[in-house]
């Protein structure tokens, strides 16, 4: 681990933050915070980090509260409309939805942004992540209920909008600039 990481202090900091969260989760699972729960939480969390180490995905950006609120609010609205959309298709009689798989190159190609965008776009209307090309930074996405080419270009724009909201909420200044200058094109 020490050989792979060029900044041991950053790696150590990430692990300490992860340990803190694991202790919180452990206490929540037991239902209350107590010294004994914190102690066993430290033991369990420590061994989890020791035996199941995460690949180093460091957080280089900064949190912007307003953009985070926009991200969360839009997410809730989109999750509700996505659920109603899929539920309506599910119960419509004699309807076979058409689909498509499209490749969407992201503008910010960090692992963190790829993972967050892939995760969120599976919960917004019409899109579901199928495959990730990590080097090229391309997400391959299944689109449900395609009726016209406009639906496909609409999904492309919606995915890039999800990426933009994520970078605005948690990205660094450099990533934000990259987002605004990089052109978007089909692969």
């Amino acid at each position: 681990m020490s050989g792979a990481s060029s900044r041991p202090t950053g790696r150590r900091r990430d692990q300490l933050i992860a340990l803190g969260w694991l202790v919180v989760v452990w206490n929540l699972l037991w239902g209350h915070f107590s010294p004994a729960n914190v102690l066993t939480g430290l033991l369990v969390g420590g061994s989890v980090l020791l035996f199941f180490p995460l690949p180093p995905v460091s957080f280089g950006g900064r949190l912007r509260p307003r953009a985070l609120l926009v991200l969360a609010g839009t997410f809730v609205v989109e999750l509700v409309s996505a659920s109603i959309h899929v539920a309506a298709i599910a119960v419509r009689p004699r309807f076979r939805p058409r689909g498509a798989i499209i490749g969407v190159p992201l503008r910010v190609r960090t692992d963190l942004n790829l993972a967050l965008t892939a995760e969120l776009l599976s919960l917004v209307p019409g899109t579901l992540i199928v495959e990730v090309d990590r080097e090229a930074g391309v997400l391959y996405v299944h689109v449900l209920d395609v009726r016209s080419p406009a639906d496909i270009s609409g999904s492309r724009e919606r995915i890039l909008a999800v990426e933009e909201r994520i970078v605005r909420a948690v990205g660094s200044e450099a990533e934000l600039r990259q987002l605004l200058t990089e052109p978007t094109e089909a692969p």
């Binding site: 199941f52 999750l79 996505a82 659920s83 599910a90 058409r98 798989i101 919960l123 579901l128 299944h142």
Partner: protein, 148 residues
């Protein structure tokens, strides 16, 4: 009407709509023609259905210990459902179990490792992709996805 009654009614609405969405998700998983379509039903209405059921529960129980547990279930549900759906969808696509006649466009077709024998250099580079990194270090996260 007291505050308690209002909260109880809100809880009832959340519980019933959550149950209906979960039912719709189940119908979708049964009725949709293809794996990828089914994964749509298994993520969106299913996740929102569980979240609404949790909100209803939280409004009824109103104790700190239960709220903590409910929050954990919600967070793990949100974090693991898309990852589980992606894993299933990807496995289905790679093993050729996706019905191409239902797809209008397939931009993944040329970029895909051969299902019969994946080229080693591509397989290596893709083995740990973004989707699984989100919470790959926490063994409990797997349980969250299987709870439904």
């Amino acid at each position: 009407m007291s505050v308690g009654t209002v909260v109880d009614w809100l809880a009832a609405v959340a519980l019933v709509s959550g149950a209906l969405l979960s039912l719709a998700a189940g119908i979708g998983v049964l009725r949709f023609p293809d794996v990828l379509d089914r994964m749509h039903a298994a993520t969106k209405p299913q996740v929102l259905g569980v979240l609404l059921l949790l909100v209803g529960l939280a409004l009824r129980l109103r104790t700190a210990a239960d709220l903590g547990m409910i929050m954990l279930v919600g967070v793990f549900q949100l974090a693991t459902a898309p990852v589980a759906a992606q894993m299933i969808g990807r496995a289905a696509y790679r093993s050729g179990r996706v019905d191409r006649s239902l797809l209008d466009v397939d931009e993944l077709a040329g970029h895909q490792p051969d299902p019969a024998g994946p080229r080693p250099q591509r397989a290596d580079s893709r083995s740990g992709d973004g989707g699984s990194q989100a919470e790959g270090g926490d063994p409990r996260s797997g349980d969250g996805g299987q709870r439904e």
